[in-house]
């Protein structure tokens, strides 16, 4: 277990460790590091350990590269770390967690949007 009182912040009561995405990169080019940090710290500030990375822009082969250090993630979850929603969604897509319900909802919404677009397009063509 992580004993918060033995670490730096003696006045940090009721906080917990979080596994979240820390943003890096430059303008119009985001890059996230998957990081275990105290939840009151700044988003891009000092973290306890880096557990992986996530590149949201697809590369030449149309892949979004995500890296996870599963051993260390297991350790931190065992110490009582929480995960944020984006991290939980990514882990669900990876198969490490069960699928996040919002991933399924978003997929359904995008499919519905795509089908209504097709319907309006065909209606326009018919009217013309």
């Amino acid at each position: 277990m992580v004993h918060l009182s033995s670490f730096l912040l003696k006045t940090y009561h009721g906080g917990h460790v979080v596994i979240r995405l820390a943003l890096g990169g430059v303008t119009n080019r985001p890059f996230y590091r998957i990081v275990a940090a105290y939840n009151k710290r700044a988003r891009d500030g000092k973290y306890i350990e880096q557990l992986g990375s996530y590149d949201p822009l697809p590369n030449i082969h149309n892949e979004k590269l995500v890296a996870f250090n599963y051993e260390r993630i297991k350790y931190w979850i065992g110490c009582g770390a929480h995960t944020t929603n984006p991290v939980a969604k990514l882990l669900g897509l990876a198969g490490f967690f069960p699928l996040h319900p919002m991933t399924i909802t978003e997929a359904e919404r995008s499919r519905r949007a795509a089908s209504t677009e097709v319907k309006t397009d065909s209606q326009d063509l018919v009217e013309q």
Binding site: G52, P58, H61, N62, E63, K64, L65, V66, A67, F68, N69, Y70, E71, R72, L90, L93, A94, G95, L99, T103, I104, E106, A107, E108, S110, R111, A114
Partner: protein, 340 residues
């Protein structure tokens, strides 16, 4: 599974870091000893083909490769340092030469010849409800240092929702992204395409291409085997065997030719350079690889050694029988004359 672990050990032993060498060499010796034991048990039942990793085959191949120190230690493109001169006694000089020979043997370690890796495409999960979530694939890698690269989890989530294991090419590329290896590029350089290889072969730079190929590809990948095959074919076509002699690729070349029943060109080249022992060992290798061939059976019946082996091979299998017999006769005459 045993084959996988052996292959893994072979690959590990080939790509080892210097400080881990000794342990790994012990590993390799134990694996070859194990393989040797199983081979001898088999040969009493029927006569199967010899494998690349048998001690006898490796012995023969390393002897044919030769140990020309001047070629092994020829100046490579390195940083220029002024030469060091040492004053030594005769015994110290012998020791230094001995050490140089051992280092040369290490440099001459042959890249392993493994069977081609089978394409793998296991599907771990099919979730149709995720269809349309994204236009791009997600590739998830396990970046744990303790896991060997062959056992690393690299999975791909397609836009259709299927979660599958990554193919071998994807695996190589992604492992190079997260665990970069010196000299390897993420996408294979254009030199390994056939048109470019032809230009390189005209410049007689087979060895450089092979060195690059060994660094770039895994030894059991299709591209590695393809490049090796193209190089060997070109050398065989033009008879440029001497380019690879005393390098670590000569064993692979001899093995490839022996498997394809085409050792005539190499034999003739050896006889022209008066390398009788090498020629005899090449014929022995051929008999090990093809124990069902006529010349192998004749040789075993007569228990032939040395020059008789060459004569039997010339008689039964060879296309250039006349040249080989003539060369053997000349050698015998010169031996008789020199002894007299």
């Amino acid at each position: 599974m045993a084959a996988l672990s052996v292959a893994r050990r072979l690959v590990k032993s080939y790509f080892c870091v210097k400080c881990v060498e000794k342990n790994v060499q012990v590993h390799l010796q134990t694996t070859t000893r194990l393989l040797c034991v199983s081979a001898s048990r088999y040969s009493s039942v029927d006569a199967p083909k010899a494998q690349f990793t048998d001690t006898e085959v490796q012995d023969i191949l390393s002897k044919i490769t030769g140990l020309d120190l001047k070629k092994v230690f020829r100046p490579l493109r390195q940083q220029l340092t002024p030469p060091k001169y040492k004053l030594m006694t005769d015994t110290e000089l012998e020791e230094a030469v001995h050490k140089a020979e051992e280092q040369a043997k290490h440099l001459l370690k042959m890249p392993p010849v493994l069977s081609e890796r089978k394409p793998m495409n296991d599907v771990l999960a099919e979730d149709q409800m995720l269809e349309g979530m994204d236009t791009a694939k997600y590739v998830f890698t396990d970046i744990n240092f303790n896991v060997p690269h062959r056992e690393r989890f690299i999975v791909v989530r397609e836009p259709s929702g299927t979660l599958r294991k990554a193919s071998w090419n994807e695996r190589d590329r992604i492992i190079q992204v997260y665990f970069p290896k010196e000299g390897r590029k993420v996408t294979p350089p254009a030199i390994f395409k056939e048109e470019n290889l032809r230009g390189v072969f005209e410049q007689d730079r087979h060895e450089d291409v092979l060195n690059q190929c060994v660094v770039q590809f895994e030894p059991d990948s299709a591209e590695f085997k393809n490049v090796l095959m193209l190089t060997y074919e070109d050398i065989e076509k033009h008879g440029k065997y001497d380019l690879l002699r005393s390098t670590r690729f000569f064993g692979g070349l001899a093995w490839h030719l022996a498997n394809g029943h085409r050792i005539d060109g190499l034999l003739v080249d050896m006889l022209q350079r008066d390398l009788m022992q090498d020629a005899v060992m090449l014929v022995r290798l051929f008999h090990l690889v093809h124990p069902q061939s006529e010349s192998a059976q004749h040789a075993q019946r007569q228990q032939a050694t040395d020059l008789d082996l060459l004569k039997i091979y010339a008689q039964y299998e060879s296309n250039r029988a006349g040249f080989i017999e003539l060369a053997v006769q000349n050698y015998e005459q010169t031996k008789v004359l020199s002894s007299v």
